[in-house]
Structures are given as structure tokens and as C-alpha cells.
Amino acid sequence: MNFFEQQDQARRTTSRLVFFFILAVIGIMTALYFLFVAIFHASAETSETGKQIIEDPSLWDPNVFFGVLIGTVAVVGIASLAKIAQLSSGGAAVAEMMGGRKIDPGTTDLQERILLNVVEEMSIASGVPVPVVYVIEEDGINAFAAGYSQDDAAVAVTRGCLNLLNRDELQGVIAHEFSHVFNGDMRLNIRLIGILAGILVIGLTGGWLLRMAFYSSHSYSRKKENNGLALAGIGLALMAIGYIGVFFGNLIKAAVSRQREFLADASAVQYTRQPDGIANALRKIGGSVYGSEVNTRAASECSHMFFANALKARSFSGLLATHPPLEERIRRVDPGWNGEYPVIEQSAVQPAMATAGAAGLTGAESAPAPPVYGLEDSYTLAPGTESVQAAVAGLSTDSTIKVDADAVVSQVGTPTQQHLDYGRQILASVSADLTEAAHVPMTAVAVVYGLLLDTEEEPVRTVQLQALKNQSNPAVYKALLTLKADILDLNPRARLPLLEICVPALRQLADTQAQRLFENVEVLIRADQKISMFEYSLHKILKRRMEAKLSKASKSTIRFKSHKALIPEYNVLLSALAYVGHDDANQADAAFLAGAMTLMNKIGKVLGRLPKEECTFAAIDKAIDKLALASPKIKQLIIDAAAHTALADGTVTIEEAELLRAIADTLNCPIPPFLPAGA
């Protein structure tokens, strides 16, 4: 099952959930209706003291029916919506609700640094924005991912994770959480919590009525005792109905969650290609005295979001367990397991972590001789402009990347060990000063400006720097001057990844600072009177990332389920991609056809290449934004066609890769980076 089918399935699961929810609410309403009819009948009898015999024994009472209908829908609806609204304000809100502390991107704490590095590598390897990372001060080994979309995702791990797991195990856990991000599980989780909160309110109302009845029977005269008794009866009945609803709700939640956990474990193995990481992490949970417990109050509500069971084991945990048994999970990942858990001593593990971490900090060395993807030609470069030019030219013609177009779709959302190694190498190729700068808001702004400096033409660069000197914050400008040489020296492949690393720090800018950033970015882009593919992609990606911060989570609504309205956009997209990578008109035509054919076969409509003049950035931009509203199935076809066009000649130039990244990013389909040839 590929990324698109997973997304589709997550949506189907969601609609099934909604169905169950409606069923549950109908069940509750029916129960309440009978309860109230019974009460009214009873009260009618007592008030007339037996004179009035029940004239109308029918159970149909429209007043009661509509009262119950509206009351239930209002109460359950409000509670559900309120909870969902609270949670969908972003992954950060959920992480904070759970008592998480945000790790500063520029942290100097070794354990936290390692965690951030692992997360960043995974982000680069998979093409997903770097999530905000939280740590929860708990001794159990656990983690979770939260958020409404990839753009506002947050990943949280417990202190136990940092203390007890080594780098590989941590990577396994993070890969598991990233799988939840890819597969649309986070949104599913938030809806589950919301629905349960709604049903729970009925039970809580009952409890509240019962308490009222209890107090009123104590403080008021005996005349009211009957009233109090009736109130208590209603309360008790409401509680029973509510909690039975919650019980079944939990049953649904647990059933869905267990399936998604197996999937995430399997995905983690797929991404890291080493079952040991996640298997050892699970084994350590079994061996640790704290297990995977998380004791914050909110944990029970969100228990299904965690990496492993966050709650203390209960007697009837089989049906209600949100996670499959530890043993079963380990055996699925590692069939040859002997059934023994390691003995964990809290103090003994830390040094091991420290040494593994120290190696991890220095980058690629910690991996056992990972294959090298043609990155080091950039290491030997002298910082002169000419040699950088040569390197850029060399990379974009000779050492372009060879990829199989058919493989691209299956790669979306499924990075592999090679991608992880590549991500690690990309990170390692960035100088320590730049990496540090990318993690602090002020210098991260300087890095973004630096990325936009023209690498080839000195006069353009002078104009750009002059503009910045006048318009940007002096401290930022000064930071830029010290970073300039490093940035110009950067491997072209590391440029967009470096932008991604900057994003968490950039999101901490105040609105006024962010506004200034965008103004200056536009000035820098316009400095040479033309827009390059890199400039376009940077602007597009940056804007998307920052919008997720400024407005609320981007709602990914599906507006287009058929191809009819999208034909012009297909034409723009494929034509643009064809021109980007192929200068020769014949080649461009062939490239366009390669992509168009795959689409035309599927949709039965004719596509035509547009003249080059019509493929402006404005047109591309509009097309991508519209295509972002298509259903996952259509997106799969788009990515497939785009890949076939870009790869018609069997290679991806840097420019093609940048445009593809901007497309995939806007479409919310994380494509892992294209690995250079010779892998």
C-alpha cells in the first residue's frame, strides 16, 4: 500500500468513525428518549395522584422526541467541536496539554541535540517539514506525534526515551512517529478524542445531576425529596447511558488505534531498514521498571496517540488496549526474538547514550560506513566564485541524478535507509557555523537571505547586499556577512534542506519580523530582474511553512474529485516541468509527452503542451495551488505524471528537483530527495 492509498484509507476510516459516532449518538438519543417518556409518564401519574389513568399509552411523544433530539445534538456537538477546535490549533497545543516542554532549536544539551538531529535527518530523508520537538519529563519510554497536518506537526518524546535509548533506537521511535504523520493518523486521532469528549459529556451531566440531587435532598425540606429522588434517577440513568457510550467509543478508538500501531511499526522498519532499532526500543520498554507509562492527566484522553501504552495495565485491557501487546509488536518486527527483555538500570545506560550521541553529533561518522552520494566533490572546493560556479555547472549537468520514474510514486511518504544516510550527509556537509545559525531566529533570517544571494554574478550580489544593508535589521545584516562565505560555498543539494532546518527557528519570529523577512526575500529575488527556479521554490516553501504558523492549520479540503476542471492545470504543470529540464524543443516535447501519456491513459482526456511564454511562475503557482485541492487519488496521478516528465531523459537536474519539491510540497505529498547516481 503506498502513501496515497494510506491517505485514502485514513479518510475512509474517518468516515467509518463518523458513521459509528452517528450510530452511537442515535443509540444515546433513543435511550434518552425512552428515559424521558418514562419520567413524564411517571410524573403525570404522581401529580394527579392516580386520578388520571394513562390515556395515551403510546410511546410516541413528539415534544419529548424533539427536545431530546436537539438537546443531545447540541450537547454532544458542542463538546465535540470544542475539543476538536482546541486540539486542531496545532500539534504544539496538544504537546503542551500533555505537559511537554518545547526543545529550543538551538539547544546545547547533548541529548536534546541528538534528538533534534535525528528528527531533522528524518525530515530531510522524507521531505516533510521539520516538526516542533517536545520533551516530556517522564521516566517511561514513550513518544507521540500530534498536529492537524504535516505543516503544524509536533513530535514529543519522554525523558526516559532520551536517557535509555541509543541513537538507532531513537531513530526507530521517531520513524514510527513520522509514519503517523504521513498516514494521516494525527487528524484521525484528534477526531477520535473530540468524539469521545462529546459522548463523555452526557455521562458527566448525569454525574452532575446526581450530585445536585444529593445536595438538594440534604439542604431542602422534605417536600422536595421526591424531586431530588427523580433528579437522582435521571442523573443515574444519564450516567449509565453516557458511560456505556464512552465504553463503546473506547472500543472503537482502541480497535482503530491498534491497527495503526502495527502499520507504524512496519513503516518504521521500512524507513530505517533496520528492525533492531524499533525492536530494541520496544524490548527496553519491556525491561524498564517504568515501562512506557506517562502519568500526566491528559495522557488517558490521548492514550491512543502514544508510541506505546501510556496507561497502567488494567484488568480488562485486552479489548480496550489502544496498543497491541508489546510481545506481539516485537515478534512482528523481529520474528526470531527469544522472548527476553533486557535488564535496564537507569544509571548504567546513560554513558552508552552519551558516546553514541557524541558520534552522532559529528554527523556521518556514526553510521557504519554509509554509502556516499557524490557529496564530497563540494568539500574540496576552494571558496572562490569561479570554482563554485564550476561546481554548480558540474552538478547540474554531469552528475545529475538518475531515477526510475515509476518508482517515484511509491517513494512518496516512504523514505528508506539510503534516504536517511543521504539526509545525514546533507546535514554533515553544512558547516557547523551555518547549522548553529539555522537554529536561532535572528541568524536563521540571515541564512535565508544568504541562500538568495546570487551565487554566480558578483554585481547582482552587490546590489542585493546593498539593499539588505538599507532595509534589514543591522544585527541580521552583520550575521549575514559572517555567514556569507559558508552559504555561497554550500553544496547546491543542501540549499533547500538548509531552508527546512531554518523553519522551526523562523516560526518563532514575531509577525512584524516575519513580514520584514518576506519583504526582503522579495527584494532579493527581484534584484536581478528575473526569477530562478530555486528562488521560486524557496519562496513557495517558505510561504507555506510560515502560513501554517500565521493562520491556523491549513485545512486540506478536497474540492476536486474528477479531472475535468483540472486539465488546464495539468497542461501548465507538465509543460513547465518539460521546459525546466530540457532546453531543446524536441526534448521538451518528448518530456511533456512522457508525462502526459501516463495521465491521458488514466483519464481519457487529451493534454497539449503550452508555449514556453505561457509557463510563467505566476501560472505555475496558480496551477499548483489549485491542484493541491485534488483528492489523494488524483494527486497520485499528478505526481506520477510530473515524475515521468522530469525523468523523461532519465536524469533530474537540480532545477527539476527544486520544482518537483515545490509541487510535491504544496500537494502535501512528501517526496524523499532524489539520490545521486552511483548509489
Binding site: A93, G106, M442, N473, Q508, Q513
Partner: protein, 196 residues
């Protein structure tokens, strides 16, 4: 039945509005709290640098003990103030205390800078130069982060005092947050006053 429905509908609308206002206020508050964390990181970086600075300077200037003690004391006070402030960002008392402690520290460091001018050997020292550069960039980062913090505090305060938000703010204890004012320039501006 109809009046009941209308009342219910009105209550529903009000509840939904209240929830959305509450969520917005929480978001704004989280934003400035996060912004303070940024300042805090850089402040601590600065506090960590100061003992190194004092240690390096000590060897050169035996006669300026008071200046050095003054710097160390100001640093310790500022550290304590920062700790208190990070527990409660935006709280007026804590912000005022941190602001004045930081201003005092800047003043003390400014004084130290003036004294150091008289020691050419010290100025030539390489590790000293890199330390000073580090201090300078850290101060720049603090200023930048402080701007972000003050901006987000301002937008929280505006969001909080609008109607009907102020009702929600009042009933759920969203107190007005306070800006952080640090007078970084003071040390430098005072510098020329030192007698010759």
C-alpha cells in the same frame, strides 16, 4: 417549545464564540511564552560567557578587582531575575526585575569595556577578541528575540482588551502581560563620562 429552542440556539452561539475567543487567547499567550523562551536561551548563553570573560581578564588587570566583582555580581543578579522571569513570562514584576537587572549588567559590562581599553595586551589577546565577538552576537540575538517577545506580548494585550474578548479574558484569568525593557546602550552611553 419555540422560545426554548431560540434560547438554546442563542446559548449555543454564545458558547461557540466563547470557545473560539478562549482558544485564540491561549494561542496568543503561548506565542509570547515561546518568544520568551528564545530570550531566555540567549540570556543564559550570555551568563555562561561572562565567567569566561572575567577569568580571561583577571590575569591582565590585577588592580581592577572591583570592576570585575561588580560584573560578576550583576551577572548573578541577572541570572536570578531571569530564572524567576522564565517561570512567569509577561508577569509585570518579573519583567521589570529582569529588565533592570539586565540593564545593570550591561552597564557593568560597559564599564569593564572602558577599563579594558587601557590594556593593549588584553586587546591583542585572540581568545579575548573571540569572546567579545561572541558576547556581541549574543546581545544582538537577545535584542532580536526581545523584539519578537514584545511584539507578541503587544498582540496578546490587544487581543485581550478587545470586546468581547475582555469578558473571556477576565473570567479565565488572562492577565495583561508586560513588555521587557532592557537598556543595552546605557553602558556605552555612560562610557565617555569616566574621568581621565
Amino acid at each position: 417549545m419555540v422560545p426554548l429552542l431560540i434560547t438554546l440556539g442563542v446559548v449555543l452561539v454564545i458558547v461557540v464564540i466563547f470557545i473560539s475567543i478562549y482558544n485564540k487567547l491561549v494561542m496568543l499567550r503561548e506565542r509570547f511564552k515561546n518568544a520568551f523562551a528564545q530570550i531566555d536561551v540567549q540570556l543564559r548563553r550570555r551568563y555562561d560567557l561572562i565567567p569566561n570573560l572575567v577569568e580571561t581578564v583577571k590575569g591582565y588587570m590585577a588592580h581592577e578587582k572591583e570592576t570585575l566583582v561588580g560584573v560578576t555580581e550583576a551577572r548573578n543578579q541577572a541570572l536570578a531575575a531571569a530564572k524567576a522571569a522564565s517561570a512567569n513570562p509577561g508577569e509585570p514584576g518579573a519583567m521589570l526585575a529582569l529588565g533592570s537587572a539586565e540593564s545593570l549588567l550591561s552597564k557593568a559590562l560597559g564599564g569593564l569595556n572602558v577599563v579594558m581599553e587601557q590594556y593593549p595586551d588584553l586587546k591583542a589577546n585572540e581568545s579575548m577578541a573571540s569572546l567579545q565577538e561572541e558576547m556581541k552576537t549574543t546581545e544582538n540575538k537577545i535584542a532580536f528575540a526581545r523584539q519578537a517577545f514584545n511584539d507578541s506580548v503587544t498582540s496578546f494585550n490587544i487581543g485581550r482588551s478587545k470586546f468581547p474578548n475582555i469578558i473571556v479574558a477576565g473570567s479565565f484569568g488572562f492577565k495583561e502581560a508586560s513588555l521587557l525593557e532592557i537598556d543595552f546602550e546605557e553602558g556605552e552611553r555612560n562610557a565617555p563620562k569616566v574621568s581621565f
